[in-house]
Symmetry: C2
């Protein structure tokens, strides 16, 4: 028997067990060749990937270590006598192998695979095998079964008889912070909208990062529920709300692998909406040459799959295909985006009209899910709620309920302008390029860093006039970002990309 | 900057970097979401999978740890200032993504993927993605390109003008230790045969485990080369001979995932034969209901692919499809198998004739690659060399050159017999079952443990007569193995599986 030891290493959603190479009870190398072991305690067992330790200060030959998450999952104190065995075959892996061979999996197969993934019984390589096996093809029925399986392992929010609505954007457009405007708008109308958002991974800001400029977003499920019960909505980070534990695990493999299929996207999004207790969902699909979705044809294929699966799940869905040819609003980066959002909510004369109109369009669609609102009247109602200040007051209620951050909305004063080298008309703005410059400047780590767009598509520019202003957290970042912008500003003027 | 630290953890062919959660220079969680980081030293860089450390005794916030293999690979001393960056995109991963979408990859794609895998630039999940993407389909041209790419990264052995032969068995048959007989036979004829073999992973013995009963097998390339130059052959463990570094990495994912495609098998085996400098290969494909290859049709498909790829690589190949309906010889387990091998080489009257005849058949095919031997005369020549004691003397030279172990050939005295519950005729023996009983008894960890088969297919048995004897290393193992055998002995007698 070995003594259980907690090893202070976070192995990011993979259970890792550590065994000293000098262990005399077992043959570490033999087990390592199998990659996984079964950790067996007095009354429980758990599969884990094996790492072999050579350093006796980290682990002695008489100990078995578990990584942080595995230790939590195993729920036994340090020092508990445990033994290890050959890994018990995970039946659901047979389904993964079948899928890799091109078979169609059953609802039961998906349930088993997803349950094992959510319970951290899969190693990263096993998850990768599942994702890649699914990437080559899935029937619509399979997507439905995958979505159901993912929702089934989630922590389901129950809102009783309330008419709960939600909005989701496929993403890829910098500055597109419509959620922060439409959530208060829809609340002001009286609908319930418990909005969870993500933080940026590769973008300069996620809605959670931008909302965090104004209020606390790191909120657990129970507190979120209490806030929504009280005021009708929220704008929180989804990371603490256990909506789709399987998705939380799979994303740790999908993202680094860059596997990003339509089928996985639909299953991931709709499973979360299902567990969030939504009845009605407005889906925003921006289309543009540098957006996530590049063509109308692709947008329509995506829309059909969303509609098919949502329909089968009893979730009402309204899809809106929008213009994704350039960033929305002016600011890109948490503080700059929060400034734009508040300008819209405050009806400031210089508020970016594209952000306002996009938000009103989506809010209007949500409001029309209210049977007392006539078709076509939603956007008018949304505009009234914005202009009357009702939306701003709803936002103030959200900030108050979640806890105001007390931060200001001033961008970093460490800034530099990117100038037009000649006169012309802005035709398009490269979303990817602008996002890269903003990240290089420090967003989202430095909340006050980013890019402030001074010209948008359709604007005329004179030679030497600034196209945008870079705000950076550090001088070195400013130089790097300016250099990047100098190579390619991301602005297409009169058919040519501007370079300094 | 962070200080480089060596972390005494063997992460089994995956480069892992460790960063303390309290690191103030970087944001550990942000990097963790990307799974990998780029470790950047004064004059070099390396991608690595990121684990976050919470325990400051293991790693302080100012340090960057590297797992054992990553530290070796990075070749910089502890304390070297390093920084980390977002992972640089590995171009070859684009090919993996394309393959996952069903594309056909080019020779250049395979070269790039395999080079990166061999250099440990892929995480386990990325390797899994590549293997699964390839599992759904590969053209023959792709298999050829994969094989070439795998051979290209290997340490190639050059034997000059020597006619170097080799033999490979697809495996799955307990006791099938023909290599240990045919290598000395072929050497005695005057051919050169630098044989590398594997150790058991899930079987009760690999040829390397069995040979180790007689001699040292853990031999580096240079020593192996010297031995072969001197005596014309060897029987060593392949683990120290760097024939296919990419395969050594991929197997750490293939085996636990249970991905075992024809295409991968062909590429793995032929790439190793190519770097081993072989000119002529005899391939043994045993076919049986419990063998690795289950049907003639499957064997022929496999043979065609082997022939196609070997032909394109300029490697002469002779395939022999053999009977895999039961174990070969009597002993299963290192010592018991070594006993059978030596009995055959010594022309002992009780030597297992199936092991002798199978070895002569394969040795004959190898000997016929000598242009001075007429077609059909190879097996006769092999028999002469065996009966004259020339093969035994060649084996003695091998043992002497590699270093005799000095071990005896006595099986463990801790034994128990499995009896026939009724009279009848043995029809078949389940290879998988016998292997499992032998492993349970302690093979290959306990070299003297295993199973000694007292009856083979075609033999008549009386009620109560022993079918086989289990030899175990420990009393507990003997009990477990006997219990397993009691549930299902693996013997099919008169159409019924024997149970105690």
């Amino acid at each position: 028997m070995l003594k259980l030891k907690r090893i202070g290493i976070d192995t990011h959603r993979e259970s890792i067990a550590y065994l000293n190479r000098g262990c005399t009870v077992y043959q570490p190398e033999e087990f390592q060749a199998l990659a996984k072991i079964e950790v067996v305690g007095p009354d429980r067992q758990m599969p884990a990937t094996l790492n072999i330790v050579d350093d006796p200060e980290l682990l002695t030959p008489g100990e078995l270590g578990l990584s942080e998450e595995a230790f939590r999952l195993f729920r036994l104190p340090e020092g508990t006598p445990v033994c290890i065995e050959h890994p018990r075959p995970l039946e659901s892996l047979e389904a993964v192998r079948a899928k890799a061979q091109g078979h169609i999996l059953s609802a039961g197969d998906y349930t088993a695979v997803i349950r094992d993934i959510a319970a951290l019984r899969y190693s990263k390589m096993e998850i990768a095998a599942f994702l890649v096996a699914c990437a080559s093809f899935m029937t619509t029925e399979e997507v439905l079964n995958l979505t159901r399986a993912m929702a089934a392992v989630g922590h389901r929010l129950d809102w009783g008889d309330k008419w709960v609505v939600d909005k989701h954007c496929i993403g890829g457009i910098p500055g597109n912070r419509t959620s922060m405007i439409l959530v208060p708008l829809v609340m002001a109308h009286g609908l319930v909208i418990p909005k969870t958002s993500s933080r940026a991974i590769t973008s300069p800001a996620g809605t959670a990062d931008t909302m965090e400029v104004l209020a606390r977003v790191d909120i657990e499920t129970d507190e979120m529920r209490a806030i929504v019960e009280r005021i009708g909505g929220c704008l929180v980070w989804g990371g603490r709300v256990n909506l789709s534990p399987a998705d939380d695990v799979m994303i740790t493999v999908e993202r680094p692998l860059g596997i990003d299929t339509r089928e996985q996207m639909v299953a991931s999004i709709l499973s979360k909406k299902l567990t969030a207790g939504s009845r009605y969902l407005v889906l925003d699909i921006p289309v543009g040459p540098t957006a996530k979705v590049r063509s109308q044809a692709e947008a329509i294929r995506l829309r059909k799959l969303f509609e098919h699966i949502a329909g089968a799940l009893g979730l009402m869905l309204e899809t809106i295909i929008t213009d994704g040819s350039q960033p929305i609003g002016r600011g890109v980066g948490p503080v700059l985006e929060a400034r734009d959002v508040m300008a819209v909510l405050r009806n400031a004369p210089d508020a970016p009209s594209d952000l306002r109109e996009r938000s009103l369009l989506l809010a209007g669609a949500l409001i029309e899910s209210d049977r007392n609102v006539k078709g076509g009247q939603g956007i008018r109602r949304a505009r009234e709620l914005l202009e009357s200040g009702a939306a701003l007051r709803a936002m103030e209620r959200i900030i108050e309920a979640q806890g105001p951050s007390g931060n200001g909305l001033a961008a970093s004063s460490l800034s530099s302008e990117v100038l037009a080298p000649r006169a012309g008309m802005v035709e398009a703005i490269d979303c990817l390029r602008i996002a890269r410059v903003a990240r290089m400047a420090g967003a989202p780590s430095f909340k006050a860093a980013g890019v402030d767009l001074l010209k948008k598509a359709g604007d005329a520019v004179r030679k030497g006039e600034p196209l945008y202003r870079i705000h950076a957290g550090l001088k070195a970042d400013l130089d790097f970002a300016a250099e990047l912008a100098g190579q390619d500003s991301g602005y297409l003027v009169d058919g040519m990309v501007e370079t300094a």
